[in-house]
């Protein structure tokens, strides 16, 4: 009796979450997949016809937006590593007993809604706003200088909005490094730079790896930053999907684009994991 209960316990634990995912993830995914293969219009209705054309048309038409999304996502990810790593390092090794205070400060902007934060960036970067206005008036910037509606604004917004998702996993990895390892490296004649490159960096890579996954994926598929901070030349695939779905009501092509993006990201992630699998990364760093 007891053994049966013991055997059922793991299933009982996974049941609520499993059911939740089954209903709210698997079902819509299947519905969308089917939708992407249908043809028709809102007025006459859609029918399942194995219509692969939505994929072909979508990729041909929105090829640029897909590439742009990946590039913006990549740029934002790189910027976040460069900005976030020193922050994570500093909190982990120099934070002493205030670590949780600093982590809270990192998360503080998240208490404000995502859209609102992005709109405040728009205000900050606007052509006659509090940042550019005075600089232009002082003659420090050319009259036609602008940030808003440029790739820089969109990439900047993406970098800012997902930064905590980069910092937190890197912090977790760095925090787990025994400070004695740094002393041991120094004791074994390693300079500060060598200690960082040979010990700290390789041991923090699992965190960087997790951070990249957690920021690159949402940044590449984001549409808020491009629509609030961008212009006509910075449209990302997320904007295309949103447009097709909500405005043109061309559901099949929107669904097809969603799945195309998902496939591209999955392929990218697996390639990345294969090339830089955590264990392998550590092997390389140890040499």
């Amino acid at each position: 009796m007891r053994t049966l209960r013991a055997r059922l316990t793991p299933y009982a634990l996974i049941f609520p979450g499993g059911l939740w995912l089954a209903i709210f993830f698997v079902v819509p995914t299947v519905v969308m997949l089917s939708l992407s293969l249908q043809s028709g219009n809102v007025v006459d209705g859609f029918a399942f016809t194995f219509n692969w054309h939505s994929y072909v048309d979508g990729v041909t038409t929105y090829h640029d937006q897909i590439v742009r999304s990946l590039l913006y996502g990549l740029a934002a990810t790189v910027i976040q590593i460069v900005i976030g790593f020193p922050v994570a390092y500093w909190i982990a090794f120099k934070g002493a007993n205030r670590k949780s205070v600093y982590l809270f400060l990192v998360l503080l902007p998240f208490l404000v809604s995502f859209v609102l934060r992005t709109i405040s960036w728009q205000y900050l970067l606007s052509d006659n706003g509090i940042l550019l206005g005075p600089l232009r008036d002082a003659g420090l910037l050319p009259q036609d200088f602008r940030i808003l509606a440029t790739p820089a604004a969109v990439i900047g917004g993406l970098s800012y909005n997902f930064l905590p998702f980069m910092i937190l996993p890197m912090y977790v990895a760095l925090e787990r490094i025994d400070p004695r390892l740094l002393e041991a490296a120094q004791d074994l004649y390693a300079s500060r730079v060598q200690t960082f490159l040979r010990v700290v960096l390789p041991l923090s890579l699992p965190g960087v790896f997790a951070g990249v996954l957690m920021t690159f994926v949402p940044a590449s598929s984001d549409y808020v930053n491009a629509s609030v901070l961008g212009g006509t030349n910075t449209t990302m695939i997320g904007n295309v999907i949103q447009n097709q779905y909500l405005i043109n009501q061309d559901y099949p092509i929107a669904a097809a684009m969603s799945f195309t993006l998902m496939a591209v990201l999955l392929v990218g992630i697996f390639a990345y994991a294969r090339a830089l699998g955590t264990e392998d990364v550590l092997e390389v760093a140890a040499r």
Partner: protein, 382 residues
């Protein structure tokens, strides 16, 4: 085999007046920390000279400043005052990676992302030793610590004892002028610890490198060291060979910290040449050798080791210290019996009696017994 330097003669040359430049010197070193706005003096002025090739222990309870002293030798702590010298050279402000000493950390601090081989080769690579030489030396040292064939293992795949030996090899392979060991056996179980004590001593003899060993375990220090500095509250209480420390503890703290000891005090009744006679109870007398002039009536504190005391039911004859008391406890310890005896003045004395001939006990709880010992085994504390 690895080159053999100073060798076993090193202990003898540790005597004062030796011509050799000490391998390590601490010259009136002080270390202060500020913690919560309060200045804590962890080390309050330590001076010591460690001889080349010596097995030197810093022994003391936790918080006595022994680890801080060692970390100042390694360069991880800057002394607030004083000078650290390695082979006569002032290294007080030299960074740890520029000091020719290596450390074996308490928790080993092995690099988890590297194999055994990579861990051991780490120091040689940083010193830009050529790769054929690295191959040779790493192979050699892994043989010394008996880990040949495990080069590709990761630290986490090894037992505590093996990790300990990797840590040792990682430090020794660099042929440092001195090896600093911070309670390296603390995490091992008793059997392994005892085996490693002998092993460490053998390795130290083989490689001839100066070992500075930090421990709170007096047994470990007594077993392995050529000399021991007993530290207490940021100061060195006594610096001497193990036998000297055990037989002639300099202070009450040392007497209490090293082994079991009985503390007695009494006023001087008579002084016969170099022997003082102390009176305790009516039929008690304690004979103790005294160096300096002691006057009658002065109170002396002295210590007697439990194994030096003979327990008997009849009054012993001869020029012995003799005290009478009542047995309050008898404990059978296998190789010996331990008695607790309460004297007339309330002092409790522990006596060890070897189970050499028969295992019958001399006295039972509640019996009145005589305790006696040779005059030279009374050791007067300053």
């Amino acid at each position: 085999m690895t080159e053999i330097q100073a060798g076993p003669g090193a202990a003898a040359s540790a005597a004062p007046g030796s011509q050799q430049t000490p391998a390590i010197e601490l010259d009136n070193v002080v270390k202060e920390y500020t913690s919560h706005g309060e200045v804590v003096r962890a080390v309050k002025g330590v001076s010591l000279a460690i001889t080349e090739g010596e097995f030197f222990s810093l022994l003391g309870p936790s918080g006595c400043g022994k680890t801080t002293s060692m970390r100042m030798i390694a360069g991880f702590e800057d002394p607030t005052q004083g000078v650290v010298r390695l082979h006569g050279q002032d290294v007080t402000s030299v960074a740890p990676n520029k000091r020719d000493v290596n450390m074996v950390f308490q928790s080993y601090a092995l690099f988890p992302h590297m194999s055994v081989w990579e861990n051991v080769a780490f120091g040689l690579k940083r010193k830009k030793v050529e790769s054929a030489e690295i191959q040779r030396r790493v192979g050699e040292i892994l043989e010394v610590v008996d880990l040949t064939g495990r080069e590709k293992r990761r630290p986490r795949e090894m037992s505590g004892g093996q990790q300990q030996r990797v840590a040792l090899a990682r430090a020794l392979v660099n042929r440092p002028r001195a090896l600093l060991l911070d309670e390296p056996l603390g995490a091992l179980d008793l059997k392994l610890r005892q085996a490693m004590q002998i092993e460490l001593k053998r390795i130290q003899r083989d490689v001839g490198i100066t070992f500075v060993y930090v421990t709170h375990d007096q047994g470990e220090a007594l077993t392995m060291s050529d000399r021991i500095a007993v530290m207490n509250d940021g100061l060195v209480d006594q610096l001497a060979a193990p036998r000297e420390i055990y037989e002639r503890p300099a202070t009450k703290f040392v007497a209490g910290f090293i082994g079991t000891s009985n503390l007695l005090s009494g006023s001087v009744d008579k002084v016969n040449g170099s022997t003082a006679v102390l009176a305790l109870g009516p039929s008690d007398r304690i004979l103790a050798p005294v160096e300096e002039s002691v006057s009658v009536g002065e109170t002396l504190e002295l210590t007697v080791r439990p194994e030096k005391i003979t327990i008997s039911t009849g009054q012993p004859e001869g020029d012995l210290s003799v005290v009478q008391g009542t047995v309050s406890e008898v404990v059978y310890l296998g190789t010996s019996n331990s008695y607790a005896v309460v004297l007339a003045d309330g002092a409790e004395i522990t006596v060890f009696q070897q189970n050499a001939h028969d295992s019958t006990i001399t006295a039972e709880r509640g019996d009145t017994v005589w305790l006696s010992w040779q005059p030279q085994h009374s050791y007067v504390l300053r």
